[in-house]
Symmetry: C2
């Protein structure tokens, strides 16, 4: 959670803690899971997270994928019976320090309608891929397979502004510019936004994340994925256990010597970063740049927290009889 | 090529043959390549395509990935020194008959500008993923990582129609609705179309395809990828050999018993196909449906060819002294 806050992904930061605690209090998260390998081959495994929090389960799965990669070049681990796992990129980055490419994805509770559908069948199903470089910082792609996350609609709603065409649709499946359309029975839409701009491709991506995370592992998929919030109940006809993740690690030197690969990555990154920017733009960014820039600022100046988040944390401190440090802002 | 035509992907069908022959005549494609494994681990390999046509090289690479998957659960093969490989989905589908998931991607000559860039640095870099089901047809995603392929701009141009906002940009990197903007120094744009609708995510995807296909293998990447047409010359400062592909095969039973997985895929597919359609739409489609429907029609009624394509093929028949069948249309 702190890593998310430092990288500016506040929606997955410490603000999530009260929600995780409410799920635990309702018995929907196991705080001391017995995480087990239930099936494996030299390059693959399925792990049962014993209903633990994904933040705890996914790093164990990633370590197992890296162990497989050490042995046979790559490792691929599907996880069932897990819960929300925070930012996808955190898990993918675990591989980079070991000269491996890390891959991380998870399914999530349904909020997204496939192209041509009026129903919510997929989560925002993020994908992260972290690729080491040499002198340059790592390439880190980490993105939801929708045009935007739900948080952006909430911001527009608070500002009483319409949302752009292509972010969401109403309950009949029609594209909408009303920031409240999702909570009124509508849905987020896959990356692409509209059929004309390729939303069927975002639908493919979100579906692949769902299938790799949950059909491989035996977790719930599609509309059966349990909600992440304590005030919504899971479906009473589950098709699997908990939510699913999929973690992968590929040893660079399973393909070519690591230093050679990193030198080429440096050239790739430098060429792209120094390309001619569009009119009005300062520079072309490399995936991972925005989070790294934010991290460097926040690790120095601290993480600004909204007053509501601070007061939630203070309530938790009282509830659990913890010392709460003085706030500075 | 015939498989592409049968599936309605005419841009990659027999219409490509004259172009491939021109590249061969200029010595840019080796018609009898000595395809070699140059590096490997139990789950990975790098293959040198000896400058063969990708249509020939990629199936060999996929077969090698499947051989690895037989042995250790998954197989991942990066290919260098190759050329255009046709439709990505063809290679991915080779795995499905063996109860494996097939993954296929390739880089391509630069036609796409990253978000915030005015330069063409990436190809349309397609990804295909084919997943077997039981009673239901396979799930087959096969898509370029741009909003649209260049062919759609050509159709709009021929009809003298503007293109939608989000398909392409002009030479200064500004979004354009002019169907001629790409040939006037502009570029296609990544899936998402504009920054506001998530084009940075499409840029991530196209980059990952480029890196997996070419930085893993030692092929040319980014703006150095050689052109697929004989009237454009390759760069004189290559960073690798030919173009690159990346093929993967995952044995289903490396994760769970194949029949169990296929039963769940049937439930996934049925639930999605039967979801409530958006107002005005007939049905929610499963990735692979449009190509399968087209295939069933064309395998019965034949493939309609444009008169220009027929006359190109007739010229080739004369040139190579082949019998040309009578045309019916």
């Amino acid at each position: 959670m702190i890593d998310a806050d430092l990288k500016g992904i506040d929606s997955h930061g410490i603000a999530r803690l009260p929600g995780y605690i409410r799920l635990w209090q309702k018995g929907r998260i196991n705080p001391s899971p017995d995480i087990k390998v239930v099936h494996e081959t030299p390059s693959t495994a399925v792990i049962d997270g014993d209903n633990g929090l994904g933040l705890v389960v996914a790093p164990e799965a990633m370590k197992y994928a890296m162990f497989k990669a050490e042995t046979v070049g790559t490792g691929w681990v599907a996880v069932r019976n897990s819960n929300h796992y925070g930012i996808a990129g955190y898990h993918a980055l675990l591989a980079v320090a070991n000269d491996m490419i890390g891959i991380s994805m998870t399914n999530a509770s349904p909020l997204v309608a496939p192209t041509f559908s009026a129903e919510r069948l997929l989560g925002t199903n993020p994908i992260a891929i972290a690729i080491p470089a040499g002198q340059q910082p790592s390439f880190v792609a980490d993105f939801a397979t929708t045009t935007v996350a739900n948080g952006k609609l909430e911001i527009s709603k608070r500002k009483q502004q319409p949302i752009p065409f292509g972010w969401a649709q109403d309950k009949d499946g029609k594209p909408s510019t009303d920031a409240g359309c999702v909570e009124q029975g509508g849905a987020l839409v896959p990356l692409g936004g509209t059929r004309e701009l390729g939303s069927h491709k975002g639908y493919c991506l979100g579906s692949i994340v769902d299938i790799f995370s949950a059909v491989f592992s035996g977790a719930n998929y599609g509309p059966w994925v349990p909600p992440f919030v304590s005030f919504l109940e899971p479906t009473d006809d589950p098709v699997g256990k908990g939510i699913g993740h999929f973690l992968g690690a590929m040893r660079i030197d399973a393909f070519r010597p690591a230093q050679e690969f990193k030198n080429e990555m440096d050239r790739w990154i430098t060429r792209f970063r120094n390309s001619k920017p569009s009119a009005g733009e300062a520079q072309v960014l490399i995936p991972g740049d925005p989070e790294r820039i934010m991290y460097l600022a926040r690790i120095k100046d601290g993480v600004p927290l909204l007053p509501a988040v601070v007061s939630n944390l203070q309530e938790l401190a009282v509830q659990f009889r913890l010392e709460m440090p003085e706030t500075t802002g």
